[in-house]
Symmetry: C2
Subunit: 627 residues, 2 copies
Amino acid sequence: MKIRYSQVTIVPGNPQKNFETCQKAAQRAKKDGIDLLILPEMAIPGYLIADKFEENDFIEDCEYYSHKLAEEATSDFSLIFGTVMFFETLSKIAKTGTDGRKVKLNTAWVAQSNSVTYKVKTLLPNYREFEEPRHFKDNLWVKNNLSEWDMFQPVIVNGVSVGVLICEDGWDDDYEIKPFERTTECGAQVLVDISYSPFTLGKNNSRDRRFSAHARNLHRPVLYVNGLGLQNNAKTVFSFDGSSCAWNSKGEMIAQSKMFTEEDVDFNFEKGELTALNPKPIEKHSDIQDIHDTLIYAIRNYMAQNNLQRVVIGASGGVDSTLAAALYVEAIGKENVLLVNMPTKFNSKTTIGIAEKLAKNLGCWYTSVPIGESAKLTASQINGLKPKNSDGEKFELQLSSFNMENVQARDRGGRVLAAIASAWGAVFTNNGNKTETTVGYATLYGDVAGFLATIGDLWKHTVYELCKFINDVNNKEIVPTEIFTLKPSAELSENQAVDKGLGDPLIYPYHDRLFAALQEWWNRASLTEILQHYLDGNLAAWLNHDTETELTEALIKEHFPTAKEFIADLERWYKLFKGMGVAKRIQAPPIIAITRRAYGFDYRESAMQPYFTRKYLELREKALAEI
Amino acid sequence: MKIRYSQVTIVPGNPQKNFETCQKAAQRAKKDGIDLLILPEMAIPGYLIADKFEENDFIEDCEYYSHKLAEEATSDFSLIFGTVMFFETLSKIAKTGTDGRKVKLNTAWVAQSNSVTYKVKTLLPNYREFEEPRHFKDNLWVKNNLSEWDMFQPVIVNGVSVGVLICEDGWDDDYEIKPFERTTECGAQVLVDISYSPFTLGKNNSRDRRFSAHARNLHRPVLYVNGLGLQNNAKTVFSFDGSSCAWNSKGEMIAQSKMFTEEDVDFNFEKGELTALNPKPIEKHSDIQDIHDTLIYAIRNYMAQNNLQRVVIGASGGVDSTLAAALYVEAIGKENVLLVNMPTKFNSKTTIGIAEKLAKNLGCWYTSVPIGESAKLTASQINGLKPKNSDGEKFELQLSSFNMENVQARDRGGRVLAAIASAWGAVFTNNGNKTETTVGYATLYGDVAGFLATIGDLWKHTVYELCKFINDVNNKEIVPTEIFTLKPSAELSENQAVDKGLGDPLIYPYHDRLFAALQEWWNRASLTEILQHYLDGNLAAWLNHDTETELTEALIKEHFPTAKEFIADLERWYKLFKGMGVAKRIQAPPIIAITRRAYGFDYRESAMQPYFTRKYLELREKALAEI
C-alpha cells in the first residue's frame, strides 16, 4: 500500500479555505497513485480558535466541508483527516455537555469509497495553552454514551489494519489510558497519529523519543503527521512547525519533514514494515536555528494574516530593537521596514551611530525624529497646572524626573511611532524581551506598545545569541558588532548613560536564569528553594540545570556577597514579576511563543498582591539573623 | 444545633490573610455559642488565582493555614470551610495528573474537635471564566483512585447528618451526577453548599430557583454560603457578591444576605427544620441597582488591592466619561477624582459645558488641557518627513485627516492623561462601553488606554439607564441632563459635530441588541439566523427576547429599508467585531464583568480573519437576488 502524508497549512477558522487545501492534496495524491493520504488534526476548522468552537453554525459549516472532503475518496483512494463534529452527527443521539451546549468531538475521519469511519481523540490536553476539555468530550465519554462504540478498533484500508490516533494520544506518559498500546492490541499493523502541535523549544527531541519508543515497543511503524500554520489565542501566537516524521517498526526514524515547509512524503507499507519512497537525509538543527526559523515564519504569517505589509521599528541602537530590525528585514524585505531613531539629550552618539549603521547594513529605510520638543511641551502644559474644584480650592501638578522618563517613552511609542506607522500604512513593532516583560521593565503606551511582541518570549541572553547567529550564518556584519560589548540601557536619564558604563538594573546572566526558574520550569522554583540554594552556595548550578552558561557561583557571590543583598534583590524583582509586571502584560501586545511557557494564554495570571509563603518567611528570617 | 454562616471577604492568593479572616469568624462564633460555622469555598487560597495553583509551595502554604484553621474546632464547636489540597494529603497516595503535576482537589473541610473530614467537589465547571479541570480532579476521580472513598457520605456534626457540597454541585442541570440528591440518599438532614461564585446579571434569580427546588424536592433545608471579594483572571475582573441564602425544607427562602456585605447569619436546626434566628425582610433589587452596586464595589476594591487612591478621568462631556466620573466620585470620594477636558477646535461648547457642569455637580477636581498645539507639533514633525535608505532613495510621509483623528485620541490618552496621572500619583480610567469595545470603535494607546475598563461590560443603553438611575436615587442632577438628548460623538472631526446632530456611526438601540445576540447569548446568534429574521420582518422581536426595548421592527426598517443596506451594515460591524475589535481587546485594560459574557477570560478569542459560513453566503445571495 502506498501511503502519503501531506504537511499542509491550516488557516484557523476558515473551513472553506482548509477544505480547498486538503482537496488539492487529495487530488495530487490520486494523480500520483497513492492509496492512503494522511492529513493533520483539525485540518478543517483549525485548532486555536478559542470560543469559536461554541458557535454551532461554524461547527455545521465544518461538518459540511468535512463531508465534502470525504467525497474525494474512491475505490482506489482513501484519506484520513482531522476535524470537529457534533456527537449527534456520529451517534444520532442528541447530547449536551456540562456547559449546556451540544457535545462536540475532536475526530479523525477515515474516508473510503463507501464509508466514513469516525475515530475520536482519547487524550485531551488541558494545560499550558491547551484546553480541549473546554470544548470537546473524549473517546471514553463516547463509549459511556454509546454502548456499541469501539474505542480503539483499527480501520481496514486496502486490507491493512490502520490504527488511527490523534496528537496527545501519542503523549500518554501522564495518562492511564495508553491509546497506542490499545490500538495495537486491537490488531493495528501501522499506527497513524494525526497532530496539530505547535513549535516549542526542545519539543521535537522529546517527541522523537516518545514516538520512536512507541514504534520500538509495539513493533509497529508509526506515522506522525503534523500541520503547519500560525494560530493564536489572542495574547499568544503559536507557530505550527510540521516536522512530521515516520519510524519503522524498529523505532528508527525513516523520514522527517522540514519545519514550516509544505511537503508530500510517500511511503510503502508492505509485510508489516514501512519504507520511505524517496528517503532524504534527516537534518538536525541547533536550538538557535529553530528559534530563528520560527520567528521568521511567525512574522511573515502574522503580517500576511492581518493584511499587513510594512513595519516601523523604533531603533534605539540597543540590542533588542536591532534584533527586531534584522528579523523583519529578513521576513518581509528591506523595502517594508522603516527604522526610526528618536533621540533626546540622553541618547549617546554611540547608540545613534549603531542605529544608523544597522539601517545601512540592512539597506532598509531610516529616519530620525527627536522628541525633546514634544517632551518639553508636555512638561510646560502639566507643570504648574492647577486643577480646581467648585469650592475654589486648587492644587498644582509637577512632573518628577522619573515621570519625565515615562513621558519620553510614551512620546516615542504612542505619539511618534504610531503616527508614522499610520501615515505609512504600516504598524509598529514591540521590541521587549522576556526578561523585561517578566518584571515590567518598560512603559505602558510607550515601549510596551506595538502590534506584535516579536521577541517577547526570548530571554536577554537568547537575544544576544540570535544576533550572533544572524551575523554568523550571513557571514557578514548585519548586527553592528558594537552591540555585543555595549551595556544595555534605556537611556532615559543621566543615570543610564551608556558611555559612562551605566544602564539597566538587571544582571542578565543571573536574572535571566532566575526568572526562567520562576516562570518557565515545569515544577516551578519557589523562593524558598532559591534562597536555600543561595545559602548552600550552589544556586548557579541549580539554575543552570547542568548546562553551561555565563552564570557562575562567583558571579552571584560578587553581586550579592551577603544574604541581605541577595534577599533584597530577589524580593524586589519578585514583587515586580507578580505585581506591576502582570498589570503591564495585561495590556501588552501578543507574544510569539518560543519557550514552553510564553506569557499570555500559555501562562495564565491573575493580578494579585505578591505573596510570600510562611516557609519562605521563616527561612528568610533565619538567613538574615545569621548575618 | 445552632448554625452560622459567615459571609467573609476572601483575598486571592493570600492564605495567611484569609486564615486570619476565617479565624476571627471562628472566634466570634465560639463566643456567640454557635455549634457549627460555615465559611465559603476556597476560603484559604482564593479562587481566581490562575496558574498560581501550579505552584506547589503555595499549595503547601494553603494546607498549612487550613490545618491551623481546623484547629479552631473544639468539642463544642465545628466548622466547614473550603480550601485546596493535594490528593496525596487526603489519601497518602502520591499521584500526578495528566499535566505531570501533583493532583490537587477543591475541597470542603469539616473540622471537629478530634478530626477533619475532607469532602471533594463533584462538579467542576469548565466554561466561561471557569476552568477548574485545568487544576483539580473531581470527587469521581478520587473514588476511582481510592476504593474506600465514599463520595457523598454526610458528616455527623452534633448528631446531625450534614450533607456538604461545593458550589457547582448545586448547579447540576447539565450534569449526569446529582450531588444534592445523592447526599440526601446517603442520609443528609441538612444540605450545605459552600460557594465562591461571582456576580453575573440575572444569576441570583436563577440560583434562587435551583436551590429552592433542591430544598423543596428533597425536603431538606439548604444553606448556600457564598464569599465576598474581587478577583480577576488578568483581563476580566469578577465581583463576588455573597448574597448567601437559606431555604427551609419546603423550599421557602428564610434568609438572604446583602450583596457585598460582611455578615454573620445564625440559624437553629431542630427536628429536621431550619429557622433563621434573627429573620430580616428579604430585599429585592432591580437589575440596574445590582449593576450600580457591583461597579462601586469593584472600583473600590480594585483601587484598594492595587494600592491606588486617585484617578484622572478624561471628561469629554459625553455619556460614557460622565458615568465613569459619577461612579468614581461615589466609590472613592470627590477629593480623589480629577476630570480633565482636552479640547480641540472640533469640541463643541455644548460638551465642554457639560464636562464643567459635571465637575461642579460632583464637587471633584477639574482642569482643561487643550491638545491642539501638540497635535500640530506631531503633524509638523511627520508631514514632509523623508525616510532614506543607503541607496539614497527616499519617500515622504503625510498624515491624513483620519490619521489626525487617531493622533488626537492618542494625545489625550497616551500623553496628557498618562502624564497628569503620574504627576498626581494617580491612574487614569478607560471609559469605553461594551458596544464600542465589541467593534473596536476606539484608538489604541488613546481611548483604549487606562488602568481599568470600568464600564467595558455595559452596552450603551445600560450606560444611559445607569446615568438616569444615579440622578433618580440621588434625587438631584448629578449627571447633567443635557446628556440624555445629546447625540453620542467622538468629536474628532467636522463630521462628528454634535451641534449639527452628527456623531457616532452606531445606531445604539439596534446595534446594542445585535452585538449582544452575537456575543452574549448562550447559544449565540448566527448571521444566517439574523438575516433570516430580518427577511421575515421579526428581527426586533427576536433580538429583544420578549422584553420591551427601544428596538422596534419599524426602527430596523427605517434604517435598513432593503436587504442590501441591512447586509452591508451587518457585515461591516461583524468584520470589525471579529477583526480589529479583537486586536484592540488584546491590548485593552481589564474589564469589570457584569453580563454573563464579559470580554476577556470569560469570552476567549483568537485573532483570525472574519469568516462567513456557506449557509450564510447562500442566504445572502438569495436575499440580494430578490431585490
